[in-house]
């Protein structure tokens, strides 16, 4: 281990073609335990494709994925989620007309047996939802309120709180600050640090280098489906990252992996 900190995820030589478009070419990508990895790059750089491969939405044409040291194959998003890879998508996967609690537990509802019936345990779900949100610093007025009345930042926090609660080891945030005000963005960045404090690894995908720079430990820069560079925060400034993205200059960094 070159850095003394073990990799949680390691993707090696990932390539993916859509028709004639080479979306990713031989990309190596890794995230260490309890680390915030900033995944940056311009539109069409391949960030989403890489993440969708990591979350089982797409299967790579070639390359290997290791999670906690073991090689894994994800055939569906469920496979990835079962291992503790939770994604907070840009649309947040929240349903506006449903209550916070119902959203929080959607697909993972708590049920109790009442005679032959399996009934949702609303009270317990309310309690857990409130507690889980409080744990990352979010205070909701009432768990019965529809998500529709929450602000953008509050919604983001519900989505992050849900992912953290359901045992995410790796939390993937796709442009989490894209549509937020400055104040709300700051809050979301705080949640990210809070989640890291709790032992999670986080992949932070964004265009906004300044947002990610304040929370990330390392950066991976993609461009036209290739990895341009990988830096520890101490080796690079936010301005330098922007300059690399702008110029498309390739820089070789070091990875965290042991020998494979």
């Amino acid at each position: 281990m070159s850095q003394g900190k073990e990799c949680l995820v390691e993707m090696i030589g990932i390539s993916k073609k859509f028709g004639t478009v080479q979306a990713l070419k031989d990309v190596d990508f890794d995230v260490r335990r309890q680390e915030v990895m900033g995944l940056v790059g311009d539109n069409g750089a391949g960030k989403s494709t890489l993440i969708k491969i990591l979350t089982g939405v797409y299967q790579p044409d070639s390359g290997k994925i290791y999670f906690e040291g073991r090689e894994v194959h994800f055939n569906s998003p469920k496979d990835a989620r079962d291992l503790g890879i939770e994604t907070v998508y840009q649309d947040l996967a929240l349903i506006p007309l449903m209550s916070i609690t119902r959203n929080f537990f959607l697909g993972r509802e708590l049920v109790q047996k009442v005679g032959p019936l399996r009934v949702m345990n609303h009270r317990k779900m309310d309690e857990i939802a409130i507690q889980a949100l409080r744990a990352i610093g979010v205070h909701v007025r009432s768990p019965d309120e529809p998500v529709a009345i929450l602000s953008g930042g509050e919604r983001q926090s519900v989505a992050i709180g849900r992912a953290v609660h359901f045992g995410a080891k790796l939390l993937i945030l796709d442009e989490p600050t894209a549509s937020l005000s400055i104040k709300e963005s700051q809050k979301v960045l705080d949640y990210v640090l809070e989640a890291k404090e709790r032992g999670l690894s986080i992949i932070f995908i964004t265009h906004n280098i300044y947002h990610v720079y304040s929370v990330a430990d390392r950066f991976t820069i993609l461009e036209h489906g290739r990895k341009l560079a990988e830096f520890a925060k101490s080796d690079v400034s936010a301005e330098e990252i922007i300059e690399i993205i702008r110029s498309g200059r390739r820089v070789v960094g070091e990875d965290c992996g042991g020998e494979r």
């Binding site: 506006p96 007309l97 959607l106 697909g107 509802e109 529709a148």
Partner: protein
């Protein structure tokens, strides 16, 4: 005072709030203007009409919350009623006829659901086609003649017999269906999935909800309930004509929407459906009793539908547009 305010606010955020108010106003209005409106016979008559409509409405509401439509329920009601009638006149045991009728409804619902889910043609079109197809089949099979049945059985009584004067057993089935579906919708995982399927299919899919299965199941349910209503109606009239159920789909959708269910999915209530169906039944009887020509019924329902939709959309928008 602030307690009262909070209470009204909580109340008005419920989907069935609008229909509850409308129902109360109309009820008082008819009580004052229509002679004999507030009699046991008149109320029982309203309940009888509302029960048959309401069973269909409950199924459609459940489906609409999952974000889909079913315009074929009127034809399904006709098909099931006709199967029940024909098998009864052919001398088959009534329970067999009932099961065949409900089975046929289930198959039609399954076809509707599978077609919608796999072709991605809007359910409006698929079920419109289905409506015409099955109506045509009924007409072709009966050659346009009604089917009558002169017998009786315990099952026919259990479906829609008369008791306590003018009340009918259908009211019991109506309440049972509404209660069961309301329970499933609000208290079970499946209910949560129904809301999610209609309210945000993409998000639901991301979270691993089998939205296609939910839709297909709800199409089947909607059809079975329409079939049940057909059999219940046959048990009342002991005859069925080939146009039975025509136009019912629109009445049922109107009742669902009046009951606070959004056309766009993800929001609605079975209690609202119950009140919506009762309201439609009440308007039908009430207008006649108030001395208005029966033609005005449809016009009046049209107005109620539009007013209800406007109110409902305002009520939901108030807390969704922030």
């Amino acid at each position: 005072m602030s307690f009262l305010k909070a209470f009204t606010k909580k109340l008005s955020s419920r989907p069935e709030f609008g229909v509850f108010v409308a129902f109360a106003i109309l009820f008082v209005g008819f009580s004052l203007t229509a002679t004999n409106f507030l009699t046991f016979e008149s109320i029982a008559g309203i309940v009888t009409v509302a029960a048959e409509l309401g069973i269909v409405t409950a199924g459609i509401t459940f489906l609409m919350i999952a974000g889909e439509f079913d315009l074929s329920v009127g034809s399904v009601l006709g098909v099931s009623g006709m199967i029940f009638a024909i098998t009864a006149t052919a001398g088959l045991p009534h329970i067999v006829g009932l099961l065949l009728a409900l089975g046929a409804a289930a198959v039609i619902g399954l076809i509707n659901g599978v077609m919608v889910v796999h072709t991605e043609v809007p359910s409006f079109i698929i079920t419109l086609g289905s409506q015409m197809l099955w109506r045509g089949v009924i007409l072709a099979v009966t050659r346009g003649f009604p089917v009558r049945y002169w017998g009786d059985s315990a099952l026919l009584f259990a479906l829609n017999g008369r008791f306590a004067g003018q009340l009918r057993v259908s009211a019991f089935w109506f309440l049972t269906v509404v209660f069961l579906l309301a329970f499933v919708l609000t208290r079970t995982r499946y209910g949560n999935w129904v809301f999610a399927t209609g309210g945000g299919p993409q998000a639901a899919k991301t979270l691993g909800i089998p939205i296609n299965r939910v839709k297909i199941v709800n199409f089947i349910l909607s059809a079975i309930l329409a079939g049940l209503a057909g059999c219940i109606q046959f048990a009342r009239f002991r005859s069925i004509d080939p146009t039975r159920g025509q136009g019912l789909e629109l009445e049922a959708i109107a009742a669902a929407v009046i009951g606070g269910t959004l056309m766009t999915g993800g929001y609605g209530s079975l209690i609202g459906a119950l009140l919506g169906a009762l309201l439609v039944g009440m308007v039908r009887s009430g207008l006649i009793m108030a001395g208005a020509p029966s033609y005005w019924y449809q016009a009046f329902i049209g107005i109620v539908l539009i007013v209800a939709s406007v109110v409902n959309i305002r009520l939901t928008r108030r807390w969704t547009s922030r």
